[in-house]
Amino acid sequence: MSKKIFVIVGDNLGLSREQIDYEALEILKFPVFVGETEYRQSEEHNAQWLISKFENEKVVAKSSTLIHNEIADIIERNRTNYDLFIHVVMSSGLSAASFLAAENVRKQYENIVPVINVDSRQAVNGVGSVLLGIIDLIKTNPNMSIEELEAACQQIVENTFSWFVLPDLNYLYRGGRIGKAQSLMGSVLHIIPLLGLMGNEKEGIILAMGKARTFRQINTMMMEQINVKMKEKSVSTIKRAITLQGYGDKNKEAIAEFMEKLKTLPCNEIIHGKGGLVDAVHYGPGAYGVSILL
């Protein structure tokens, strides 16, 4: 008999609810603070709203971690109807507190209902990639044991790779997520950094993947690195690509050029992701990128 599985994910996944074809899913909203006021993603308070505040009011925003009780509340409300909960969590390397909160909830329900916390080693559309990969898995292999599922989820994590172009690293720096990209900060020369979250890197922190002087160069670099990764993994077709965009009008041309380039890749599905409020805190105006599942 197939398991009934409920999926939990934070709202920094680069996808809207409509883009996820799975009913038993709840998206947790990360708290965002602008000054001392807390906001959550909504029709009004979205990525565009925050980017506009960044550009026009020079505000500083911060995000907070997932809240234990909010995770537990989802499980509590659904536990009688489901056999298993899978929580796809953003990289523990980027937010150890969020993963800890998820782990504490798992322990709380240890003898009540099984919970798998998947450390996605990703953020934003990378989390979305892992999430959709797991949903594919659940749909195609409904009879897998918990152990088999755990192992398969790990495989998905290790086959997910994301690249980000963040024109201003200060947003990432202020949010405490700078990781190894710190080396790219403070340059006298104007450089455009290429960052990455590589699923096969255990640390799950943001890596400096390259730097360029023009967006055209950085787009070419991204495409080259995707091809290298495909060769490395002996993959001829990308299972899915989720783009990252939607942080204001900045870099429109560069983003459009990249999206055109993406179309040339052998890929089963390209989803144009949607940036959310919490991502905008860390990525800032004009950010874009792609996450792929191989």
């Binding site: 340059s187 006298v188 020369l189 890596l207 730097k211 002087r213 055209r216």
Partner: protein, 615 residues
């Protein structure tokens, strides 16, 4: 400077004390310094970065400064000069400095035995020439190496006609100048610039300096072989009957030999006796017995001198090696095996290691043979790298990081930029190229196990390569030649990867950014297309060729952007240290090329007024 052997020396001894040697070196240095600007002007591109003369001068200066503070005691000038050459190498700057130092190192390795005879100096020149060639990656004709080879060949040719090595060197100079004048035919880049090779010219200037100093020691003495030939003829003559002796046309010739030109005292004495006897023979026809006795003694003396003349003795190299062998069980056993290679054999033995000193003509054959019995740990003649390693074997480095990137750059602005995009340390050298010592210090100060090193000038490459042999870290040199390449390298490497991946990325991207250098001509030259570039004109160098020139800087820059920026979107201008009066330049370019982005930075490079890069 050579020692007199028990037999006849081919040349009278000229012995220099260390003070005199220092004085000679200092005078040679001043002579070179006087010609520095001439050498600097012999540059392929008419930009003020020609520094061959300066590099050679600084190389000598560095070695001199070290020797002044050095408290080591030297037993003779050969030993002193060997150390001086080592210091030249450590203080060498630019390609010209390194090649010159390599020649000096090879030369002084041979004269370290204090033998400055004609033959030994030939071997020294040969070894210096070989050492310089072998130490130069991709040695090319038309350079200083060609002049060194020509010196070796001409010296060999003149050896049969001259005994005094200083006189031979003096006589090679006109020939070397002829060869120098041919260098533009050997290197097209010289021909295009209308200059002779600056390194080669510098080497000749140095030889002239040496000649000025040592010329006073050139005597006009009759060569020893000629004197011995005279001795042999005299012996034959003396064996003849007295009546024949008196009539012989050779007798007046012997009587007229200028005794001041006979510099070997024993030969001079013997020939003086012959003359006295001949005078007596003509003056006094009596006293047959006395004459007969004297004649016999003179013949015996001449015979003895002839027998004691052994030119082969000069063919021997002072050779040292350390052999580690389990096959050889004693000093005597080794002595038996190698004794026939030469003389002055000394063997010191500890456990299975044998330190050997021998004078031999065939050091290479000797090394080949002894290596059959074990491992050669050290050789004195030609293993430069091992000597280098030996030199620093006591150094201890506590590595603090796994990998680092080290950049050598002249402009301060570029230094800042490079530091901010990932270089761990920068050696900013300004106008004077860094010495090997400075480079070694820079590399060692990083305390990194693996280092990627790159410089903004191809002329630093040789010095860097020698610095690497003295550095304990594994150094990966990226052969870059300009500051733009350094930016390209740093833009394309990530320290998140292992050193090999980093190095590969650096190598693949060294020439990734198209760029153009703008400078002002210091003399008349021709551009790539053959059009003249006048002194004072601005010109653009693209892919190492002068592609455009103009009297107006603004017009030139506009033409350059128009010509090169076709497929690019960003033009970056790096201003040089001497870029002035250009406040409107950027504005003008932006107006003329509205579809392009322009960025401006201070590069601080001393040679080019601007570097323009195209992304």
């Amino acid at each position: 400077m050579n020692a007199i052997n028990s037999g006849i020396s081919e040349q009278a001894a000229v012995v220099f004390d260390l003070e005199t040697v220092n004085e000679i070196i200092e005078n040679i240095y001043h002579y070179l310094n006087k010609h520095k600007e001439y050498l600097n002007s012999l540059n392929v591109f008419p930009v003020p970065d020609g520094d061959t003369g300066l590099n050679m001068v600084l190389t000598l200066q560095g070695a001199m400064a070290h020797m002044k503070i050095n408290e080591k005691n030297y037993s003779h000038s050969g030993e002193y000069l060997e150390d001086f050459a080592e210091q030249m190498l450590l203080n060498s700057r630019g390609c010209s400095g390194v090649i010159l130092s390599l020649f000096a190192q090879g030369f002084t390795q041979i004269t370290a035995n204090n033998d400055f005879s004609k033959e030994n100096i030939y071997r020294a020149i040969e070894n210096g020439d070989r050492n310089a060639y072998e130490g130069t990656e991709n040695p090319r004709e038309g350079t200083m190496l060609t002049i060194m080879k020509a010196l070796s060949e001409k010296y060999a040719e003149l050896m049969s006609k001259q005994d005094n090595p200083f006189a031979i060197i003096q006589q090679t100079i006109p020939y070397l100048k002829e060869v120098l004048n041919q260098t533009p035919e050997m290197l097209p880049v010289l021909k295009q610039a209308g200059v002779v090779d600056s390194g080669g010219a510098g080497f000749i200037v140095l030889l002239e300096g040496i000649n000025n100093e040592l010329g006073q020691y050139i005597d006009t003495g009759i060569p020893v072989p000629n004197l011995l030939r005279i001795g042999r003829i005299t012996r034959k003559l003396l064996n003849k009957r007295l009546s024949e002796l008196r009539k012989s046309p050779l007798a007046p010739l012997i009587l007229n030999i200028d005794s001041s030109r006979i510099q070997n005292s024993r030969l001079a004495e013997a020939l003086q006796n012959v003359r006295n006897m001949l005078v007596n023979l003509h003056v006094n026809h009596n006293n047959r017995n006395g004459r007969s006795l004297k004649r016999k003694k003179i013949i015996a003396d001449l015979q003895y001198l002839d027998n004691s003349w052994n030119p082969e003795i000069k063919e021997k190299f002072c050779t040292e090696f350390v052999l580690e062998s389990n096959a050889i069980l004693s000093k005597n056993q080794l002595k038996e095996k190698i004794g026939h290679y030469g003389d002055s054999l000394i063997i010191v033995n500890a456990n299975n290691k044998y330190k050997v000193h021998i004078h031999t003509n065939k050091p290479n054959d000797l090394f080949e043979e002894v290596s059959q019995y074990g491992t050669l740990l050290f050789t004195k003649v030609d293993d430069m790298k091992k000597q280098h390693r030996n030199f620093i074997s006591d150094d201890e480095i506590d590595y603090e990081k796994d990998k680092s990137v080290f950049c050598i750059v002249s402009g301060k602005g570029f230094a800042d930029i490079l530091q901010k995009i990932g270089a761990d340390d920068i050696l900013c050298y300004g106008k004077n190229k860094p010495s090997v010592n400075q480079l070694v210090k820079g590399l060692n100060d990083l305390k990194a196990k693996n280092i990627i090193a790159a410089s903004d000038d191809g002329d630093i490459l040789m010095a860097l390569k020698y610095a690497v042999t003295l550095c304990k870290s594994s150094v990966y040199i990226v052969e870059s030649e300009n500051p733009v390449s350094l930016i390209s390298i740093l833009m394309n490497i990530s320290k998140d990867y292992d050193i090999h991946t980093m190095f590969e990325a650096a190598m693949n991207n060294v020439n990734n950014i198209p760029f153009c250098g703008i400078a002002r001509s210091t003399r008349h030259v021709l551009s790539q297309g053959g059009s003249p570039v006048n002194k004072g004109d601005y010109f653009a160098v693209y892919q190492k060729k002068i592609v455009l020139a103009d009297k107006s800087k603004e017009r030139l820059m506009t033409n350059v952007v128009e010509k090169i920026s076709a497929t690019h979107t960003l033009v970056t201008i790096y201003k040089g240290a001497d870029a002035k009066n250009d406040n409107n330049l950027m504005k003008q370019l932006k107006n003329q090329f509205p579809s392009l982005d322009f960025e401006e930075y201070y590069g601080g490079q001393p040679d080019y007024l601007y570097y323009l890069t195209f992304d």
